[in-house]
Amino acid sequence: MGANAQTSVPLFTAGEVLTAANQNISAGTGVPVFATTVTRDAAFGGSGEKVLAEGQLAYIEASDIVQYYDGTSWATLGPSTSGGLNLISATTIGSAVSSVTVSNAFSATYDNYRITVNGGSGSTEANLNFTLGNTATGYYWSYAGVEWSGTTAFGGGSNQTSFFAASTQTKGTFLNMDIFNPFLSDETVINTRYVNLKTATTGTSLSIGGFVDNTTSYTAFTLTPSSGTLTGGTIRVYGYANS
């Protein structure tokens, strides 16, 4: 039991002398501190103790958590369970759309992001192009992959109107993209991997890397198939915690 831990939450009656010890217990600790949830429960409602009621706070040493009482039970207030990768948005792709824009994807909160596209289908096999904001120039990329047959596939694009991010498939589009510094006033660097769900020997898994040759700060991005449309599937944006 730590130095702040208490075993009761005293209640004073009219005329009672407030001692230094009483003061230290009731006010000195702010939020009452208990060794465990057992000592917490035992500290309320007894003779000379406060009756447990809605709004009561408590800190539990054993689990290092802050809790509040909602009138029926205790709930944990914190710490938050945020991890290193935090979901920012999930956008369901509509029916037969020629492009999908995700607004407010990037902000000052994170420097780097993970974007995934999962499921849905393309009306035809095509490239899935990625653009930032309204920028339609200055995309540089190259890819390297291997077809199911073992044949290698290489290519690149210089100063293009978009970034080649993946391939749309009638069986679904599966993409994961890491994007660095889109919100910062710096060049945006992009790395993606995708798998082409095609049983023909020309089916491929590809890695693509590149950058956007400007220092514009972006908040939005757009995915556009190079032909046909997209239906269904989910675009998720995650932020990598800076610290």
Binding site: T91, T92, I93, G94, S95, A96, V97, S98, S99, V100, T101, V102, S103, A126, N127, N129, T131, A136, T151, G155, G157, Q160, T161, S162, T224, S226, S227, T229
Partner: protein, 63 residues
């Protein structure tokens, strides 16, 4: 100019002429890339034919 249906977050609407022009430009660029890739593959095959080698034999030659 083609009519495109575009999605911005949860809203789906027809593209404006300016937005449609951007999509058209991307489509045209992709077609050009596809053509360039096909041209490269044809040129490669022509060389292999001239040498009388299959693609696998050519890879083995340089590995």
């Amino acid at each position: 100019m083609a009519t495109y249906k575009i999605q911005i977050d949860d809203e789906v609407r027809n593209a404006t002429p300016a937005e449609a022009a951007v999509i058209d430009a991307q489509h045209a660029e992709a077609e050009a890339q596809e053509q360039a890739q096909a041209d490269r593959a044809a040129a490669k095959q022509a060389v292999l034919n001239k040498l009388g080698l299959t693609a696998d034999e050519a890879v083995a030659l340089f590995s």
